[in-house]
Structures are given as structure tokens and as C-alpha cells.
């Protein structure tokens, strides 16, 4: 009897949690598969299930979607470039701080952590102006570099923590065999750091793919912007085709969701491990 009540009370918590989580996503999906007329009827199910919205998107047959494939490609390019650059820069930095004990390494680490803790929307204002002075505004490199700036601090920190845990005897043994620092980096360090590198690469990639604020500040031409900014453009008109907007949003949200579920053990393990020490 007590067990039954226990299960019942768990279900009583579970149902609101389920509804709270799912309703906005359900609403997103329902509109994506609804015909245009459904948009203003506020229904929980499409009156007629249709994939017409996706045909419009794929065929770029709407004013707001004229550059869809270009924008999809932009998002992909920027996310990949930011992910790879972050990975390269932060792996070097973490190796230098943790294994080579570079002079000033800890100071750099502290400044990087401080950057991680500056609210992103605050840094956006002066960074936007600086990008203008560098002549990078409206170039996709401005967004890539901005994302590298935002992603590197956390990346360096996680990689440094992981790297500190590798036994230093490995380095010493390699030195005895006459290895140079770069040989240690390539042959000892990189293979052992693989799980953390996957987690960090994914982290930076998703950060850049999902970014809205910096993308909308730094890029403006329709053929340059990312999907995130293109979605924001739908808000500029009152009679926006919301079913198309939602369908595009679904297309935009699927890759991160898929990556997240594919890598969830890496992500959750790599990004939250050690949280318990707090």
C-alpha cells in the first residue's frame, strides 16, 4: 500500500514535469505540420497533417526563405570553424599551462575564467564596436572569432582540469626517450585527451550553431546570416507565416538535438564531472 502511494506521488510529479517540458515543443511541431489556416486557430493537433511547409523550405519558395540553403550552410560553416578553432587554440593553451608550465599560464587561466563569467550580452556591445574598427563587421569571420572568444575560456579550463589528471610520469618517460614537447603533445597528450576533446569540440560547435545575439549584431546581409538570424527576421512583420517559421525552427533545432543525444554521455560526463566536488 505504501509502495502504491509512493508510485502515485511520483506520477503526480511526473505529469506536470512532462507537460511543462513538452507543450512548447509539441506546439512547435504541430504548427510545423499544419496548413497555413491552422495558425490562428490555436489547436493541439493539425486539422490536416501536411509536409507542405517543409516543401516550401526545401524549395526556398517564400520571401523569408529565399536564402534558406545558403543560411543553413552559413550556420554549418560558422559552427564547424568555431568548433575547430576553439579546439585547436584551447588544446594548445591547456597543454602549455598544464604540462609545459608556461610562464604566466595561471594568470592567463584566471583571465580566461573571468571572460567566461562576463555576461555575454554585456561583452557584445564593446565587441561589436571593436569588430567595426577591425573592419570585420558583416564578415562571417567576425562571428567565428567572437564564438571562439566565448567558447575558449571554458574549453581551456575543462581541458586543463582533464590534463592535470594525466600522470606526469608519462611525460618524464617520454623525455627520457628524448621526446620533444611537440612529440609529447602529438603522441602522448592528444590520444589520452580524446574524450575531453570530443566533449569540448561538441560544446563549441553547439554554442556557435545556437548563437543568436552575436550573429544578429555582427552579420546583416541575407546571404551572410545564420539560420538563427533568419528565424529572427520572421518577427519583423505582423502577418508572418508562423507555420513556416516553426517548420524552419524545427529544421534548425534538429541537428543540435541529434548531436546532443548521440554524444550525451560524453557531454554530460565531460561537462559536469567534478561538479560534485563543489
Amino acid at each position: 500500500m505504501r509502495k502504491f502511494f509512493n508510485e502515485a506521488s511520483l506520477i503526480l510529479i511526473g505529469i506536470p514535469v512532462f507537460l511543462w517540458t513538452v507543450i512548447p515543443i509539441w506546439h512547435l511541431a504541430v504548427l510545423s505540420f499544419s496548413p497555413r489556416d491552422d495558425v490562428t486557430s490555436g489547436t493541439w493537433l493539425p486539422s490536416k497533417f501536411t509536409i507542405q511547409n517543409f516543401e516550401v523550405i526545401v524549395g526556398q519558395k517564400h520571401y523569408y526563405l529565399n536564402h534558406f540553403w545558403q543560411q543553413f550552410g552559413n550556420s554549418l560553416f560558422i559552427a564547424l570553424a568555431a568548433g575547430l578553432l576553439t579546439l585547436g587554440i584551447s588544446t594548445f593553451a591547456a597543454f602549455a599551462i598544464s604540462r609545459l608550465k608556461a610562464p604566466g599560464g595561471n594568470t592567463v587561466m584566471n583571465f580566461a575564467l573571468a571572460t567566461y563569467l562576463i555576461p555575454a550580452a554585456f561583452l557584445a556591445v564593446p565587441m561589436y564596436k571593436a569588430m567595426g574598427q577591425y573592419g570585420l563587421l558583416n564578415s562571417q569571420w567576425s562571428l567565428i572569432l567572437a564564438m571562439v572568444t566565448l567558447a575558449s575560456p571554458y574549453a581551456i579550463w575543462v581541458l586543463k582540469q582533464a590534463s592535470d589528471k594525466l600522470p606526469f610520469e608519462l611525460d618524464e618517460a617520454a623525455i627520457m626517450d628524448g621526446a620533444t614537447p611537440m612529440q609529447i603533445f602529438r603522441l602522448v597528450y592528444l590520444p589520452l585527451m580524446k574524450p575531453s576533446l570530443v566533449a569540448i569540440g561538441t560544446y563549441a560547435l553547439l554554442l556557435a550553431w545556437n548563437e543568436y545575439l552575436y550573429a544578429f549584431l555582427l552579420l546583416s546581409k541575407d546571404s551572410d546570416v545564420t539560420l538563427a538570424v533568419a528565424l529572427g527576421h520572421f518577427l519583423s512583420a505582423d502577418d508572418s507565416p508562423w507555420n513556416l517559421l516553426m517548420a524552419t525552427g524545427l529544421v534548425y533545432a534538429l541537428p543540435p538535438a541529434a548531436i546532443y543525444y548521440a554524444f550525451r554521455n560524453y557531454m554530460v560526463g565531460g561537462l559536469t564531472a567534478g561538479a560534485t566536488k563543489g
Binding site: 512532462f18 599551462i97 555576461p119 545575439l213
Partner: protein, 288 residues
Amino acid sequence: MNTQPKAHKRFNSWQMWGMLLLAPYVLVFAVFVIYPVLYGLWIARHPHSYELLFQDPVFPRTVLNTLIFLIVGINLKFVIALGLSGFFVQQKKWIKALLLLFLLPWAIPSIPTILSFRFMLNPEWGLINSSLFRWFEIEGPGWLTEPWLAFACSVLVHIWKSLPFWTLILITGRLAISSELYEAASVDGASRWQQFKFITWPSIATLYLTSTMLSMVWTLGDFNSVYLLTGGGPGDQTHVLATLGIRYLRIDQLELAMASIVMAMPLVLPLVIFMVRRLAAGEAKLAH
């Protein structure tokens, strides 16, 4: 005898490599953080900008909104996260499946889901008010047209988006507690509340506070929840500092934008300094 100078020389070449490998990040940091921040502070040096800022009727409301967002929003989020983490550590298949679903708002980008909220809350034809009318014949409120209600909705959207992550953090905290403690406590006849008070809370209190502070910093930077849901409206009454700075930037008032950000520094800097010390000591490991 001759290993000594050789080791010394190698040490130097290691340090040289170290500085070389550190250089790309230092360059990025100098060009995209240090220079912009110094330039921004220089822009914000005139007292006149602050006078103008205080004369803007939008500013006091924004400060109030930001404080409410932080104090109410974050505490609400963490109390719920604390409770839910206790729910999600239950070893049941359906709860584990629910956890995977529950993490979805955190895993997917915020633009489509916030826009989904925005349309759902549309007073005239949104899903919420249509359903209220259909089921109960109630005229739903103007969710996004009443300033306070619109602001409350922004806070809820923020919670919807970031609750999963913090719940996950608190789950890892709870899972690290030895189950023997709970077994011993139940043998001694401790109630659930006593178990929470004497075992769970002391074990995760530090994690809870660290997380709350990190969340404060990030919530201050949350532009999307407000901008994409209300756009700061109606009548610029739902702005927070994050959106106000961008609003000034968009209307070419760079000095006001920087001044409004500088105004947040008394709150941000102590948090940053405190957290850098904690994080540098490797005490917590958290990502957005």
C-alpha cells in the same frame, strides 16, 4: 655532471614552447576581450552619460526588472531544480526516460522554442487562450500585452530553458552522496524531511550556492528570453540590462549602452572575482 646544464636548457625550451602554444589564445583574448573592454570603459568615462541614463524613464524600470529577474527567477529555478533532482534520482525506468525528455529544452537552440512560446501566448489566437476559451469559456489575459504579465512570462521562459541544466548538476550532486547514509538513517527511523535536512542538504549546499552564483552571472547575460519573447515591450517596460544595452546600441547610443553595462559592474565584479577563485581551485566544473 653534464646532465645538469642539459636539463636546464631543456627546461628553457619547454617554457618557450609553452609560451608559443599559449600565444594564440592570448592573442584572441587581447584582441577580442581586452581591447573591446578597455575601449568600452573609455567610451563610458563621461559622467554626462550616466545623467542621461538616469533621465531615461526606461532605465529605473529596467533595473527593477533585472533585480526581480535575478532574485525571484533564480531562486524559483533553484528551488524547483533542487526538488526535481530528488525526483529524478529515483531508480525507475520511466523516470530515466522522462529525464532524457526533460533535458530537451536545454539541448535545443532557444530561438525556435522561445518563438513557439511567443505564439502560444498570443492573446488573440495563441494556443493557451484558445484552449482556455474552448474548455472553460474564459477570456484569457493578454499574456504579452500586459507589462508585468509579459515580464513574468519572460522569467518563466528563462526557467524553462535553463532548469534542465541546473537540475542535472544537482542530480550529480545527489548521486555522489553515499546511499549507506540514507540506509542508516531509515534504520534509525528518520523521516524524509530529516534525511533531506541532515544528509542531502549539508552534502550539496556548497554546490547549490556555487551554482546559484554562476546562474546569476549567466542570467544577467540572458538576452534571448526577453528579447525574443517580448522585444522589451510593451512600451519598453520589460527590458532587462542585457536587452537595454543592445537597444541603446541599435539606436546608436553607444555611450548609454556602455554606461548601462558599467552600472551592472558592482553586481558582476564581486561575483566574477569570487567565482574565478573557486573555479581556479578546481572546486566546481560547470558549463552552460
